[in-house]
């Protein structure tokens, strides 16, 4: 390499590999335990002498082994780690069934008001009337949007809401001398949480096949109904992104057989303000506030899964709940008569209630309906732009909020759905949901939500079409080796599962390799 007069290199030489082995802006970040130690701390606390011994002889003798960092080191560690994540704020996140919509920052600001964030769950009820009023208001919005008689706010997430709703159904049937009903009908396309919830409550699961058009046949439901059926758990719009056209007839058949209709409300975003599930005949439905009402997903929670209940199930709601009494609001904390007991300590996800209500008030009834319509418009736009190249398993009908494709367009290309999705990462998009629903081979489920602009959707579609063309042209290495531009290449999941390493171990604790 040539040097200038100051001895500095003037050309582009062959770089020595970076010590960090990451790129300069995205260095590999060591583990907390590799940079912190037992002495450093990012908080200043006084040393105190304790007057007397009240620990009953149970003082900690074993070491804790926590790693500490000062504040500047902490900032660096977590900022660097954060940059290895994709997020909605950095780009489109078209995960079908997950509703990755914009998270308004007003919601965050409101949730941090001391009057909400800094109240203890067991303060005297007279000191938290504003919190109870907020819960009442949120309940009013949820009941109005669904046209239902009651709502239990407390479930901590969607799956917890399913459990709550199914427990209410079980309690109602036991109270009516119908405890012999032990079977729950679940369509093949259902979320995994549905059969898992039913089974965890001791029900056996009877699967309902899907029709060729991706929806549930009322005749198939009728054929599966029997005196031992407790309920059907049906997602609407379903996980293929389709509205169940016979849902009213299905509800009628289920009720006629003495069973209840549990609706999985994970996809409520498609119909809020446009269709009220109560008008369809549902008895219980959870609403994922972290999907439909924009509370942040936070890398896997916290969520919130309030359950709306029909008149028949309302008496079986769990405690606690808010009740109006003589000008003030009361918190009913103990089961009376037929109520379920508690499904969680305290009052549910208050922090999420605040965010969801803020989102609702911002949109209003009109804005929520518009958001649903835009979500559906966006999904249909993607479908329209892609369907001449991508294979649509259930053609000839509009989709709702998500567009479903199968992998037949990739046949013979040597590229799988997984490869295709990973190639999307190299183009700057988060992959769509893959291999779900299970009823479609090599499924790709794309949910843009209402938050994406036409410009973004066009760019996404252009990339999808270009990738499809390249796959068909035989350029499979681009896909099978993808991603190459992400912070990591494909990870060895088999190795992770075969000999699990679930915690950091001090190097000197690792077993010595055999000589």
């Amino acid at each position: 390499m040539s040097m200038n007069t100051q001895g500095r290199p003037t050309g582009i030489g062959t770089a020595a590999p970076a010590v960090t082995s990451g790129s300069s802006l995205l260095p590999n970040e060591p583990l907390l335990f590799e940079i912190g130690d037992r002495e450093h701390s990012g908080v200043d606390l006084p040393d105190v002498e304790i007057d007397g011994s009240f620990l009953g002889g149970f003082e900690r003798q074993s070491e804790i082994d926590l790693a500490g960092l000062t504040e500047p080191e902490t900032l660096r560690h977590y900022v660097r780690l954060s940059r290895l994540n994709y997020s909605i704020d950095s780009g489109m996140y078209p995960l079908g069934s997950c509703t990755m919509k914009h998270n308004p920052r007003l919601n965050e600001k409101m949730a941090r008001l001391p009057g909400f964030a800094d109240i203890h769950p067991l303060q005297p009820v007279s000191t938290v009337q504003g919190a109870l009023a907020l819960m009442e208001e949120l309940a009013h919005w949820l009941m109005t949007l669904t046209n239902t008689a009651a709502v239990s706010l407390t479930p901590k997430a969607g799956a917890h809401g399913e459990m709550c709703g199914m427990m209410a159904i079980r309690a109602a049937q036991q109270a009516a001398g119908q405890g012999h009903r032990t079977v729950v009908l679940v369509p093949e396309s259902a979320h995994g949480t549905n059969p898992a919830t039913a089974a965890s409550l001791g029900y056996s699961v009877r699967s309902i096949p899907a029709r060729d058009d991706g929806t549930v046949d009322v005749e198939a439901v009728k054929a599966a109904l029997s005196p031992d059926v407790a309920a059907i758990m049906l997602t609407n719009p379903n996980t293929c992104g389709l509205f169940e056209p016979e849902i009213i007839e299905i509800a009628a058949a289920v009720h006629e057989a003495g069973a209840f209709f549990y609706c999985d409300g994970a996809n409520f975003n498609a119909i809020m303000g446009v269709v009220r599930p109560g008008d369809l005949g549902i008895d219980a439905m959870h609403i994922n506030l972290h999907k439909t009402f924009s509370t942040p997903h936070g890398g896997g929670g916290p969520g919130a899964g309030p359950v709306v209940l029909s008149e028949a199930l309302a008496p079986f709601a769990p405690v606690p709940f808010v009740r109006k009494s003589q000008g003030s609001l009361a918190l009913v904390e103990h089961a009376e008569a037929r109520h379920l007991g508690r499904i969680t300590a305290f009052n549910g996800q208050m922090g999420m209630y605040v965010r969801a209500l803020t989102y609702m008030l911002s949109h209003g009834g009109d804005g929520l309906a518009q958001a649903a319509k835009d979500a559906v418009l966006n999904a249909n736009y993607i479908k329209a732009r892609l369907e001449h190249v991508f294979s649509v398993p259930f053609p000839g009908q509009p989709c709702m909020h998500e567009a479903l494709f199968d992998d037949s367009f990739l046949e013979g290309s040597g590229v799988s759905t997984l490869d295709f999705a990973k190639a999307l990462i190299d183009e700057g998009f988060h992959p769509m949901t893959m291999y779900f629903p299970l009823v479609v081979h090599g499924a790709m489920l794309v949910e843009p939500t209402e938050s994406e602009s036409k410009q973004t959707l066009d760019r996404f579609c252009d990339v999808m079409l270009e990738l499809a063309a390249d796959a068909k042209a035989g350029n499979s290495p681009r896909f099978t080796s993808a991603p190459t531009k992400a912070p990591r290449r494909r990870l060895d999941e088999t190795r992770a599962a075969r000999s699990p390493v679930l915690t950091w171990e001090r190097p000197d604790e690792l077993p010595q390799a055999a000589e």
């Binding site: 149970f58 007003l106 901590k156 995994g192 916290p302 190795r495």
Partner: protein, 451 residues
């Protein structure tokens, strides 16, 4: 609408590409009778400043815990959270990411979860921990179900020192019956569980410090459980206690569950919080919830993935160990950041400071005539007995802006033995002035009651 990007013009263009005449055409498969013909009866959209005003008005109707002395604990504790914690968790990359199912673009969340699992394992003295549960109470219910799977036995015995809410959650999950034994409340810290273990017992559940503040002998509980082939589940509702008192794992616990709210998370009227769960390596395949594991990528670089997912609902469906899906990712992050800031040295100091203030509180309460302290041992929480029913006294003090602790009757309304009891906690935020004010107000209230 400030959150919706399309203009009317763009909507029309998109409909044209789709080949639909109107937006309503896209809802053609919806039964006509179910489509709303007019908009729902809810207020219209609103500008940011009006929404803010509405929410602030609601918030103003609450007495924030920081507005005056607070002595309520009972499973949720007001601790100081360093400013950098809340700043970091509001970064878009943490706040607005999904569950890390695509590990190549989620290494931030995954590495954080691996570090979190390590912190939880070290705190509890257990070998492995999961990536969080909803909260301590649901983690307890899940631990009980896990113990049933592990032992193939059904009977569960809950100590009378277990938080009544936790007991109630387990009752709801399991249903009442001969296989669930809930021992009566034990506010005096009476030993109650060792002679209730038999050959059908899957697990006993012991909380320490217990709901009434007493430290429980876990070693004796573990030995008794193990002798009968049962498991010991230990519940910790105040995680800060582990900076000063012995780890459940070191005393023989098989599953440790805890509420992690104290570290990094605000009171939030009860949620969102973060449930911690840790166990022995040999039990990991029966554990519920997500687990993050170390591996390598195609270039041989260290990386992290969600692993052992054949336990989980999205793979195993009705054969899953639990139906849990979304858990408490962001609260786990807040916990992990705060714990990194504390480190070993800071965490131990924090625990000592809490205990120090509790000792002062106990002494202060001892100066109030008529107040009887029930604890010989405690960490940062204790129970007192008044000569009169506790609830009206607590209500009276609340009117003077002193949140004087939890009248136990609120959680145990049918137990006359609990009517006069208050559970009180002190943390590093409790000041001498707070304690003096409590003692003064309590004294005044009790003298009034006596007159």
């Amino acid at each position: 609408m400030r959150y919706l990007p399309h203009s009317e013009h763009e909507r029309a263009d998109m409909l044209a590409v789709i080949g639909a005449r109107t937006a309503a055409d896209l809802f053609a498969r919806v039964p006509r009778s179910a489509l709303l013909t007019e908009s729902v009866n809810l207020p219209p959209h609103s500008p940011e400043f009006l929404v803010e005003a509405h929410m602030k008005a609601l918030a103003a109707r609450n007495h924030a815990a920081g507005d005056g002395p607070l002595f309520i604990g009972a499973g949720a504790y007001r601790h100081h959270v360093p400013a950098s914690v809340d700043h970091l968790i509001q970064r878009s990359e943490w706040l607005t990411a999904y569950t890390p199912y695509q590990p190549e673009v989620s290494q931030g969340t995954l590495q954080m979860l691996f570090e979190f699992q390590t912190q939880v394992a070290h705190l509890t003295g257990m070998e492995v921990a999961n990536a969080s549960m909803y909260d301590g109470s649901t983690a307890t219910a899940e631990a009980v179900l896990m113990a049933r799977r592990l032992t193939r036995r059904n009977r569960i015995v809950l100590s009378g020192g277990l938080h009544p809410h936790y007991r109630d959650v387990v009752r709801t999950y399991l249903g009442d019956g001969p296989d669930l034994i809930c021992l009566p409340a034990s506010p005096e810290g009476q030993g109650d569980i060792l002679n209730r273990i038999d050959a059908e017992t899957a697990a006993i559940v012991v909380q320490t410090p217990d709901f009434y503040g007493h430290l429980r002998d876990l070693r004796a509980a573990a030995d008794a459980a193990h002798a009968a082939g049962a498991l010991l589940i230990v519940v910790v509702t105040e995680i800060v206690s582990l900076g000063l008192i012995e780890a459940p794992g070191a005393l023989g616990a098989d599953i440790a569950v805890a509420e992690g709210q104290s570290i990094g998370n605000a009171l939030n009227f009860g949620g969102p919080y973060v449930g911690l769960m840790a166990t022995r390596k040999e039990f990991v395949r029966q554990m519920p919830g997500r687990l993050c594991g170390e591996t390598v990528d195609a270039d041989g670089n260290r990386g992290f993935v969600l692993t052992l997912s054949t336990r989980e609902q999205h793979i195993r469906r009705e054969k899953a160990t639990s139906n849990i899906c979304t858990n408490s990712g962001l609260c786990a992050l807040a916990f992990s950041i705060h714990m990194s800031l504390l480190g070993e040295a800071g965490f131990k100091k924090l625990a000592r400071l809490n205990h120090h203030n509790a000792v002062k509180l106990a002494r202060m309460l001892g100066t109030v005539p008529g107040v009887e302290l029930l604890n010989n041992s405690f960490f940062n929480e204790m129970t007192i007995r008044l000569p009169v029913p506790a609830a009206p006294v607590v209500e009276l003090l609340a009117r003077a802006d002193v949140l004087a602790g939890l009248p136990v009757s609120r959680l145990e309304p049918d137990n006359p033995a609990c009517a006069n009891l208050i559970v009180l906690a002190a943390t590093e935020l409790t000041t001498d002035a707070d304690m003096e004010m409590l003692a003064e107000c309590l004294n005044a209230a009790l003298s009034e009651e006596v007159q």
